[in-house]
């Protein structure tokens, strides 16, 4: 006897529904179908569609459709590798005072906030103990380029210790001397920086004076000109209450040839907890701004050969339609911590995520899980975080059509609410994700040529107006 797989549904626009099974396979449908499905009144036409689309089958492994469902289910679970990604903070000092700073920086002239020689030796010993043969290290801060000597030391060690190494320096690019250029010239070194938009906006948020602003724009230009566009990624941090013009931000990125933008709202972390406290529980404002920004991208892409993408939206669309995109921690499930990546702070303490480090530094809750000398010693914290890191088990996510493509973010819940057990739809994370996935599905469902052109490019598939998912009314 054939059974219909349990289906979840969401109204992505008036009367238009996305209907998905537990594996994330989905089709577009109508309210009338939902009524028939819930009312146990599916007709022959419905059953034929569900048979052919792989949503109705014998629940037996002799039915190939059921075996395929099991395979898709397994493919939806992120399978973390061995620990091979370290976020390290060689210095907490920084030469900027950004208005939304979400880490806990200290003034660049303070003493005692860099790794000491002894600390460096312990970090290298910790790295040496990893079992992986490839490693990626992300240098965070503070401003890591205040200590290029430490970065050099770590890089040299890793290159000798591992088969493959990759390094990302998260820097404000306020300085770019010959020593730093030599550091980033290596093919395994990449730069991640912040570009908030126009010079005026960037100065208002970050650099504060014209000299620093001009230095940053000149340094970014120099890095791109000398080492190529692939050396650099940049992202803007958005105070959406100030409603910065999307066109202005796109112009700024366009000027440098940067086409991938990762829109990041001001986070409820670090100094931003006080400076932007009004945004603690707001998701509506961000999602409205975000949609406005995506509209601007779509309009610009319609008349251009060089297409822009917003990184998060591209990832969401991919995860709606495909499996295997599990590298982003906010978009993977289970989202286990301290498995494939870990954070090493300036004092050698270990944290499960960078946001966990920030929360601890802010005095909200101690989420440290050990140190480089003793290794991971606080398994209890990890276990507690793991208990809410599988969204299949959440009583709200179980009913959500977007669950297979979504993730979980207990650290953000802790930061905003001081607890991890709120009903999901009451959290900023859930409300933003839900709005994002509804937008993603509206774009997937659209057959307007200018929208489809962007969606196909983001999916890295040839342009087509053919439906990307089945539809049934």
């Amino acid at each position: 006897m054939k059974h219909v797989l349990p289906l979840r549904f969401d109204e992505i626009s008036d009367g238009r529904f996305v209907v998905a099974d537990d594996t994330g396979s989905a089709f577009l449908s109508t309210r009338e179908f939902i009524e028939r499905y819930v009312g146990d009144k599916l007709d022959d036409r419905d059953e034929t569609f569900l048979d052919e689309a792989g949503f109705r089958m014998n629940l037996d492994t002799s039915d190939l459709a059921f075996t395929a469902t099991l395979k898709r289910m397994c493919a939806r679970f992120a399978n973390p590798s061995a620990l091979n990604y370290l976020i390290v903070v060689p210095s907490l000092r920084c030469d900027l005072k950004c208005s939304y700073c979400q880490v806990s920086r200290v003034d660049e002239h303070r003493m005692g906030f860099d790794w000491s020689d002894d600390q460096v030796a312990k970090v290298l010993s910790f790295i040496d103990g990893l079992t992986t043969d490839n490693i990626q290290i992300e240098f965070q801060g503070g401003e890591p380029l205040l200590r290029p000597d430490i970065l050099n030391h770590v890089m040299d060690f890793c290159r000798g210790r591992f088969d493959q190494s990759r390094f990302v320096i998260c820097t404000n690019l306020s300085r770019l001397d010959e020593a730093i250029k030599a550091l980033i010239a290596a093919p395994d070194v990449f730069i991640s920086t912040s570009l908030d938009g126009s010079k005026a906006l960037h100065q208002k948020n970050r650099t504060k004076n014209e000299g620093m602003t001009e230095a940053f724009f000149a340094n970014l230009r120099a890095v791109i000109d000398e080492f190529g566009i692939d050396k650099v990624s940049a992202l803007p941090t958005i105070d959406y209450t100030a409603s910065p013009s999307p066109e202005e931000i796109l112009d700024a990125y366009d000027a440098f040839g940067l086409r991938s933008i990762y829109l990041r709202p001001v986070n409820h972390q670090g100094f931003a907890r006080k400076a932007f406290s009004a945004l603690r529980n707001d998701a509506v404002g961000w999602s409205a701004y975000y949609e406005r920004f995506i509209d601007a991208i779509l309009k610009r892409n319609a008349d251009s050969d060089q297409l822009f993408e917003e990184f998060t939206l591209t990832l969401a669309i991919k995860r709606c339609l495909q499996t295997g995109h599990d590298t982003h921690v906010d978009f993977r499930n289970p989202s286990f911590v301290a498995t494939d990546y870990i954070v090493v702070d300036f004092d050698g303490r270990l944290y499960p995520t960078d946001e966990a480090r920030m929360l601890t530094r802010s005095g909200v809750v101690d989420l440290s899980i050990g140190d480089v000398e003793a290794g991971i010693t606080n398994q209890e914290t990890i276990d507690q975080l793991h208990s809410v890191s599988v969204n299949n088990l959440d009583p709200d996510c179980q009913h959500c059509a977007f669950q297979p493509a979504c993730g979980s973010d207990p650290i953000d819940d802790l930061s905003r609410y001081g607890r991890v057990d709120l009903p999901r739809p009451h959290t900023v994370y859930c409300r933003r994700q839900t709005a994002l996935f509804r937008l993603a599905w509206r774009l997937i469902a659209s057959n307007e040529p200018h929208i489809r052109r962007s969606v196909c490019a983001w999916l890295d598939i040839p342009y087509t107006l053919a439906p990307l998912v089945p539809a049934h009314d």
Binding site: P6, V38, G39, L70, R419, D421
Partner: protein
């Protein structure tokens, strides 16, 4: 440090099966409006009752009704959804889109019902994957 999983929210919910039974049998005719004024909004509240009725629910419906109401209560706390002796009531603030609220509550019933109706499928998938 990390809170207890929502047990307290469920335990404070005073819903009895007898009241749920009344909710099934007696379609609601009145909605207690936000001001406390009782006004007839037959269609709005009936649509909840009709949802229950139209589903032709199997005997375990009372459990589903309770679960759906509990879920609706915490998903839409501003609506103050209740099972009462007279049936299901909800209160809406002056800025609430009543049609949208009723629609979302109806979907909450749907989701709860489907999850319960098809639980055996999920159990079979899990058994097959993890046995």
């Amino acid at each position: 440090m990390i809170g207890v999983k929502r047990a307290s929210a469920v335990s404070v919910c005073e819903i009895r099966q007898t009241l749920a039974f009344h909710a099934l049998q007696q379609p609601i005719e009145y909605l207690r409006w936000h001001s406390g004024r009782v006004v007839p909004v037959l269609g709005a509240v009936l649509s909840i009752a009709q949802t229950i009725h139209l589903l032709e629910l199997p005997p375990h419906f009372l459990f589903v009704a309770e679960a759906a109401v509990i879920r609706a209560q915490y998903l839409f706390p501003e609506a103050e959804i209740r099972l009462t002796e007279n049936g299901v009531s909800l209160q809406a603030g002056p800025d609430t889109d009543l049609n949208e609220l009723v629609k979302q509550v109806r979907y909450t019933f749907y989701r709860e019902y489907v999850a319960h109706r098809d639980r055996h499928v999920r159990e079979l998938v899990a058994d097959t994957l993890f046995r």
